[in-house]
């Protein structure tokens, strides 16, 4: 089987496995979380995939700045787009989880949630910035520079700052990340494949977006 089909199949198979076995396997019995701990298999991989996509976007932005190959700019844009559309279900799944464990859909008291909200706005601004410039070379250059700042800010706001202060979100403040105390080996069996699967699926989505961009370019040439 050709490699380019294999990764799609593997990604999808891993996600399906995590959907099925994630609901069936044994998980630690913890207060407050109860069965919702299984959301780790779905909420967290979405964010990992988003980070992966944003990192790709950053890499291609830097490549564009170095080479000004228009294709690199297109890939950077598409990767940010796919990442953004992974952040949305990430936010929604987190919100639903919060409703049942913290008692609220959202709170502005939590640094992680604030950080995520700011990051979403930062990337929204990236898309608006792209739309506001017409000349493709100028657009690519401004967008690429902004992308670098956007990624660094996002990383600080969602990975670094929340860990430095008090937060109810697992992995931040005083809370052990799910990785250390609450994620036992049973859960790891589902969690790691799920992360891999979602990253592979996001690559498939990126590939589709890139192919569509290339087609658009050819047709409107």
């Amino acid at each position: 089987m050709k490699l380019k089909y294999l990764y799609k199949f593997v990604g999808v198979a891993l996600i399906l496995y995590s959907l099925i076995w994630g609901l069936l396997n044994t998980v630690p019995r913890l207060d407050i979380l109860n069965e919702t701990i299984r959301n780790v298999y779905y909420h967290v991989p979405l964010w990992f995939a988003m980070l992966f996509m944003m990192a790709l976007s950053l890499i291609y932005s830097v490549i564009y700045l170095g080479s000004t190959r228009q294709k690199a700019d297109t890939i950077a844009f598409n990767a940010a787009l796919v990442g953004f559309f992974l952040a949305i279900p990430g936010l929604l799944t987190g919100s639903v989880w919060a409703k049942y464990t913290w008692g609220t859909w959202w709170t502005f008291q939590d640094p992680k949630l604030n950080g995520v909200a700011i990051s979403v706005l930062i990337y929204l601004a990236y898309f608006i910035l792209r739309g506001s410039v017409d000349d493709p070379v100028k657009k690519g250059r401004i967008a690429a520079v902004y992308n670098i700042f956007a990624f660094v800010m996002m990383f600080v706001f969602i990975m670094i700052l929340p860990r430095l202060t008090d937060s109810l979100h697992p992995g931040n403040g005083g809370n052990p990340a799910f990785g250390k105390y609450d994620l036992d080996n049973n859960m790891r069996m589902v969690f790691y494949p799920a992360v891999t699967g979602w990253i592979l699926l996001s690559c498939w989505l990126l590939e589709l977006r890139n192919r569509i961009s290339a087609l658009n370019q050819k047709i409107y040439e």
């Binding site: 069936l24 913890l30 589709l208």
Partner: protein
């Protein structure tokens, strides 16, 4: 007498250490498979959609490539 009191106390303590409630009865009744089936169906339908889009893009690519080669070979 104190021994009796201590025994009662320990019984009280063990009652506080109730296991966190999980969806055990739900599973015993087999309802978990309904949840899994629903989720699997939703995911697989989205997948079918994704594959269809992928195929459509491939078809368009072939068409555009054919158009290009036709244009370049035509006089």
């Amino acid at each position: 007498m104190t021994l009796l009191a201590m025994m009662f106390f320990s019984l009280l303590l063990s009652a506080q250490q109730k296991m966190p409630q999980m969806a055990d009865t739900f599973r015993q009744e087999g309802k978990i498979y309904v949840v899994i089936a629903v989720i699997a169906v939703i995911f697989i339908s989205l997948l079918v959609f994704l594959v269809a889009i992928d195929r459509k893009v491939s078809r368009l690519e072939r068409k555009v490539r054919k158009n290009e080669s036709d244009q370049s070979t035509s006089i």
